[in-house]
């Protein structure tokens, strides 16, 4: 039995429960209780976080356990309550990257890890445990973060399904287990226009394009850059990579 066969039931269940019944332009304002891990090169998405919550709900298992033995050739498309569109032959979710408010500032958080040498049995041989390197190395790693009270996601999706699912989106971005990107709560408001993919001439998320001419046709010069990037959650999957017009995110830029 293949991985897909084993997981077909809950994938079908998720598709039935989470596909949007009706879609409208929405703004998800995610209020944060801690800094958000920030990488302007690859923005923070909301569709992956929604998928993660769905996997937990449908399987009761953590996503890394569910996907641990999935063959790399298999791409499981997990339905989320967001509308899809096709761009350059790829389906993408109508969901912008996190848009910080103008008051957001870059900051830094150190992530620390200390080997508990005092608890270790005395290793055989030399009786010395090396914590300066190797498997027991203690770490202090700087992580770039964004200090901001909230970020906005512009999406097209099903308001009631999102309202329910967002109760299980407890954090966004990386470093979640240690408290970074913790969500205080989310506000959903209607938007008069759709800003999920493009706004004022700039892409709002990684948007697949056939070539640079197509990118220039859709987006203003200087508002994007062309490179290969993942196009659909789960973004770690290599099959989702394609040439994309990528937003150039500048702090202090008006998002709303």
């Amino acid at each position: 039995m293949t991985w897909l066969d084993e997981n077909r039931d809950w994938l079908a269940r998720a598709a039935e429960r989470c596909r949007p019944r009706s879609s409208e332009p929405l703004r998800l304002r995610v209020w944060l209780r801690s800094p958000l891990v920030w990488d302007a090169w690859n923005g923070v998405g909301i569709d992956g976080a929604l998928q993660h919550a769905i996997v937990l709900r449908e399987t009761g298992r953590l996503a890394d356990d569910v996907f641990a033995d999935a063959p790399r050739s298999v791409f499981a498309d997990i339905a989320v309550p967001l509308a899809d569109v096709e761009r350059a032959g790829r389906r993408i979710a109508c969901a912008s990257w996190a848009q910080p408010p103008v008051c957001a500032v870059e900051s830094l958080r150190y992530w620390r890890k200390r080997a508990r040498a005092e608890l270790m049995p005395i290793p055989g041989g030399k009786g010395v445990l090396v914590t300066g390197g190797g498997a027991y190395k203690s770490l202090q790693i700087p992580v770039p973060t964004l200090a901001t009270p909230y970020v906005d996601f512009f999406v097209v999706g099903d308001r009631s399904l999102l309202s329910d699912l967002l109760r299980d989106v407890g954090a966004i971005g990386r470093g979640r287990a240690g408290g970074l990107g913790s969500v205080l709560g989310t506000e959903i408001t209607s938007e008069s226009e759709d800003r999920s993919l493009r706004w004022r001439g700039r892409p709002m998320r990684a948007t697949p394009v056939a070539d640079e001419h197509e990118a220039a046709l859709h987006f203003e010069h200087g508002a994007y850059e062309l490179r290969e990037a993942a196009t659909r959650a789960p973004y770690w999957h290599m099959s989702t990579r394609a040439l994309c017009a990528m937003p150039i995110v500048r702090l202090g830029q008006e998002a709303a």
């Binding site: 801690s34 953590l62 150190y110 506000e187």
Partner: protein, 484 residues
């Protein structure tokens, strides 16, 4: 440089971060010029710029006003700002547009801005202070623009929130608390801070906090130590790799990221070690996520008022609530510490030390919360293990560093489920489960009955097998110690 003929009046000048940075830089330069080599000694004088850079953050944190900051600065470097020890009169900052006496300069500075500017980069200020005046140097200050929010800021505050399901409590500090800063500042060990933006005012501030990762690490130690005690083992009985995994999350050894996924191993780890299911890490070449997501502890202070107000769902007016809270800067203090070398004892090789430690004062409060990934699908034993841990933590009642010296004592009510979060089950379920599966758990912890790991080819070793570091399968306790 000639003394400017005119005196500038900054009484009505705008108080911004940019003007603060500029004036402070010139004032520090003027102060630096008054430092006397004979008074502080050649040794200190030789590394004065580094000492100034190191001293700025502790000074601005430990004082409560610009005047206090400047007094402490002058005292540290034996400078008399009144000019009583020379022929030059009171210290004056010489700006391109005129001169200003030190006290008038300080009067025009906003101390909150000073804190921000100094926290941002003390080395910049020290470098400017120790550089020689030159034409055009003033333009550097316009290169660091004012944060965009300042000015016509409109408060943006949370409305009707869809809050993730979580468990929370409020810690009250029974004694001062220490939690080391990310960077060193000379012999002053500062409290850990992070930059926050207050949506009520749009202003930034550096606010003390306790990292969720630090609390998680402490909980990991507690829950693992308790589990080992329940199954009758000590950490030192276990193979080093297992101890490292349980207490520090393990390490991604060569091959772990690309190693074959072994669902049986993953399942066995979660089943036989509920604490592992809670905090997880990397063990047996399997990288795994834990169920617990532990948040930063948020200090009750004016800068965090909006966050505390929203998280606790308070019904009172936010502005009044914020006004009733002290600023974060008023909630810390410095405590002097000493370490004696005891040179009067023969053979003592200790080092004499004097240091300061910044602490959050006793009586302060912090909001703390956690979430459980997939709270509806979590194993009852894991949830029960979490309940047991939280009870244990409440009895232990200590956070942060220097607990042996009495720091970090806290009191709190048990963690309460927020909206939609189910109550945690009885801890007795976990304890009964451990009792029932004790032998299996011991075998897992000791890595008994497991096949030896494959010998990995050595990097660049032309396919030669690497030397095994330690036998894993038979690395149990020494029977001679009578542990089993």
């Amino acid at each position: 440089m000639q003394r400017p003929a005119n005196e500038v009046d900054l009484t009505n000048a705008p108080k911004t971060i940019t003007t603060c940075r500029r004036l402070l830089s010139y004032l520090l330069r003027a102060t630096r010029l008054q430092i006397d080599r004979d008074k502080i000694g050649q040794g200190r004088f030789a590394s004065l710029s580094a000492e100034l850079s190191d001293a700025l953050i502790p000074l601005v944190v430990s004082e409560r006003s610009a005047l206090g900051f400047y007094r402490a600065l002058c005292a540290r470097f034996s400078v008399d700002p009144t000019g009583g020890d020379g022929n030059w009169g009171p210290i004056e900052a010489w700006l391109p547009d005129g001169r200003i006496r030190w006290d008038r300069a300080l009067a025009s500075l906003d101390y909150a801005h000073m804190r921000l500017v100094i926290h941002e980069n003390p080395a910049f200020l020290s470098t400017f202070a120790f550089s020689s005046p030159c034409d055009g140097e003033d333009s550097i200050f316009s290169s660091f623009p004012e944060p965009a929010a300042v000015g016509a800021y409109r408060p943006t505050l949370p409305g009707m929130l869809i809050a993730p399901r979580s468990y929370r409590t409020v810690w009250t500090l029974v004694s001062p608390m220490a939690h080391g800063a990310d960077e060193k500042s000379g012999n002053v060990n500062l409290f850990r801070r992070h930059r926050v933006v207050n949506p009520l005012t749009g202003e930034q501030a550096y606010v003390p906090f306790m990292a969720g990762n630090a609390v998680r690490g402490m909980w990991r130690d507690m829950v693992m130590a308790r589990w080992l005690a329940l199954i009758g083992l000590k950490p030192t009985d276990l193979p080093a790799e297992r101890v490292h995994a349980l207490f520090a999350g393990g390490s991604v050894e060569a091959g772990a990221d690309g190693a074959g996924v072994n669902l049986a191993v993953r399942k066995r780890a979660r089943e036989l070690c509920p604490p592992w299911d809670l905090v997880a890490g990397c063990t047996d070449q399997q990288i795994m996520s834990g169920r617990a997501r532990v948040h930063d502890a948020v200090l009750f202070c004016r800068e965090n008022a909006w966050l505390v107000h929203a998280a606790l769902g308070r019904a009172d007016d936010l502005v009044e609530f914020a006004a009733a809270l002290p600023h974060a800067s008023e909630l810390t203090q410095l405590r002097l510490g000493t370490r004696h070398a005891h040179r009067d004892y023969a053979g003592s090789d200790g080092t004499q030390m004097i240091f300061n430690q910044e602490l959050v004062i006793g009586g302060a409060q912090m909001l703390h919360s956690l979430q459980v990934y997939g709270v509806d699908g979590v194993e009852t034993t894991t949830a029960s293990c979490l309940a047991d841990l939280l009870n244990d933590f409440r009895e232990y009642g200590t956070v942060g560093a220097a607990n042996a010296r009495g720091l970090g004592l806290i009191a709190f009510d048990s963690y309460q489920p927020g909206d939609g979060a189910p109550p945690l089950p009885d801890p007795a379920i976990y304890l009964e489960y451990v009792e029932k599966r004790r032998d299996d758990m011991r075998a897992w912890a000791l890595r008994q009955n497991e096949p030896a790991p494959p010998i990995k080819p050595m990097k660049g070793g032309k396919g030669k097998p690497s030397r095994p570091v330690a036998p894993l399968a038979d690395h149990g306790p020494d029977p001679a110690e009578g542990v089993l």
